[in-house]
Symmetry: C2
Subunit: 367 residues, 2 copies
DNA sequence: TTGAAAGCGTTACCAG
DNA sequence: CTGGTAACGCTTTCAA
């Protein structure tokens, strides 16, 4: 007798086994099998054992699509980032994916290419796919456009970037502090003319710029507008953007002796420009980036950076997203601000600092 | 009048709008709305326009989960890699994701952590989720274990790594050629003692090793077993593995004057070991890796590498996977081998080579 | 404890 | 061209 569920007569592929198949096979109801399989609801332990055994034999795989349709929960989370090629977002995606897996969620990743409209489409699509929550490093220009995109039924966590005035879930670092730490570090190693290569449009750039200007002010240093250069494509063309910006800075008078870059790829571009100009790092110009990417320490000159804690960020975001999904009712938006930290490498190591370090090391040994 | 579809009485969230809502609203059948929305089947253009307009007004989003259940196609592809933190796989994931998006697919990414059992579980789960195809850089030890994992109804494309004797779809580079190009390059720049830091267990390592030994043989150079060091954790701990392996190599007599590393992270580790030993690259030891990662050119010494064409690989794999999904019947397995290419950077630039290059450049100008 | 049956939102088949 | 309606595989209520 031919199996009516075979796709095509000559096809070797057999249809996947369903709950009903197990039920028929065992002469019990589908309800019982469903309960046994998930170890839920009332069921005798003998029957459960029987079902489990048969399911294993038949290599039964639950159809998660069907389950999602009836339960209204897919076990999927959606991640939207501006550019997955930018290592910070790749690292973030990895951390998120890891953390979510532990709770049985899978991650659906979409790139917006720093295009607000494309981001809208991707979010729409993820919502259509029934993701239980959305995690997005948004590229929207304003809080309004962002809000208009969201689906009221899908909880959302903002990553890395936030919007003024928008009450939303957010996980990221304190960007003003990022700017403060970096700028202060450059000042403390003796830089007199600290420049900044900035991004545009997003909260991270604004916050870091603010940390930069406030710190200079606090140190009584006048702000030189020429020493602040903005790069348009924050992530997509960061390296070339940083390169171009640094070249502009090198023409300034006075020439900067320290540059704080909005992110590490920009710093890599800047590094290249500095070398091409025949200058040395850090002796002529000290350089610090932001993101603390995995390969920073292996760069031409190992790059000092501000750690944005991509791993912790992923964990905390996953945690928060899961809590939102679990909550039956809407929950008050939560903001998680992680502390950025300074990672000193060769690109900002000046003799003075090296001296201090060796003193500290000596002190450690003594203590 | 209370909407019976509201989740909870006090809840501001309203249930998503369905086809049925539009149908009721317009006084037409769900079938008509469904057809209009997808622009399929017979339907008058006036009615279609009407439906489309109302759908837009109501901000209708198709429920892709329901659609997947009935059509048996999810529009999802599953990617399984050993370690997403390894840049090669991150770059591959990005390329794949990009290519798939153009055809309306989303990508579900899972990491196996180089654990065969975990890989099995992840594949199971992706199949459960109804992915239309699987793309996997497998960590299984043998062709048999791999085959036993697969679902007969879900087409699969092997990425980067393949299994002897398994007739399957595969997209990757020709690994023996990788080994040949790298080894030959080191010989041609004048290395007399070329060592190899190898991986274990997977086809890529075996192929590259084979290219290495065959090339030495072809040049009439006896193989020195001490000059071949294997690293266990191919991707998870590649940097530290490369570091340890290089340290071992530095103790050899004769000491290698050129090292071909199985991948770039290993080369980064090796680079560190070489510097720590007070040696210079490339003058004391030339170094070449494999993968041509984005940041290679910004490293301490810009790293020569064999390009594995992660972008093209993603593209071709996406293409192939889509074809498999589209095909109604099983299609004969296809193997796509991409040509690896040599990327020369400072880590293998020897005076002799520079001379040759300038000669070539001069020749070009003349020609 | 058990099983029958009513959905979940969509598509696809058929009869008008 | 149109509109009922039966699936898709599963969970969950409800009555036995």
């Amino acid at each position: 007798m031919a199996d009516p569920r075979k796709k095509t007569p000559g096809d070797a592929r057999s249809a996947p086994v369903r709950i009903k198949d197990i039920a028929d096979d065992l002469g019990v109801s589908v309800a019982a099998v469903s309960r046994a399989l998930r170890n839920r609801g009332e069921i005798s332990s003998e029957k459960r054992a029987l079902v489990l055994k048969r399911a294993a034999e038949l290599n039964y795989r639950p159809n998660l699509v069907a389950r999602a349709l009836v339960t209204g929960r897919s076990g999927l989370m959606g991640l939207v980032v501006p550019d997955l090629v930018h290592s910070f977002f790749a690292e973030l995606a990895v951390a998120l994916s890891r953390a979510l897996r532990r709770s049985g969620f899978n991650l659906l990743i979409a790139s917006s290419d720093e295009d607000a409209e494309l981001e809208r489409q991707e979010i729409d699509r993820l919502v259509s796919r029934g993701v239980d929550a959305l995690l997005v490093a948004s590229t929207q220009p304003t809080s309004d456009t962002f809000h208009s995109i969201l689906d009221p039924n899908t909880p959302c966590v903002l990553l890395d970037r936030w919007f003024a005035g928008l009450s939303a879930n957010f996980v990221g670092v304190d960007d003003e502090k990022v700017g403060t730490i970096a700028t202060e570090h450059l000042l403390q190693i003796g830089c007199r003319h600290v420049a900044h290569i900035s991004g545009t449009g997003v909260s991270t750039s604004r916050g870091r710029l603010e940390g930069y200007t406030k710190t200079l002010a606090r140190y009584g240093i006048p702000i030189n507008d020429d020493h602040i250069v903005s790069v348009q494509q924050l992530d997509k063309a960061a390296v070339s953007g940083g390169y171009a910006a640094a070249r502009k800075l090198l023409l300034c008078d006075p020439r900067p002796d320290g540059i704080f870059c909005c992110n590490d790829p920009m710093a890599i571009g800047a590094m290249q420009a500095i070398f091409e100009a025949g200058l040395r790092i850090p002796s002529d110009i000290a350089l610090i980036g932001c993101g603390n990417l995995h390969y920073d320490s292996a760069l031409h000159v190992p790059l000092s950076s501000i750690d944005q804690r991509s791993e912790a960020l992923g964990e905390r975001a996953a945690e928060l997203a899961i809590r939102l999904v679990e909550a039956r009712e809407p929950v008050r938006p939560k903001v998680i601000l992680l502390e950025p930290s300074l990672i000193v490498r060769k690109s900002t190591e000046r003799p003075a600092l090296r001296l201090m370090e060796s003193l500290e090391r000596a002190a450690e040994k003594v203590g």
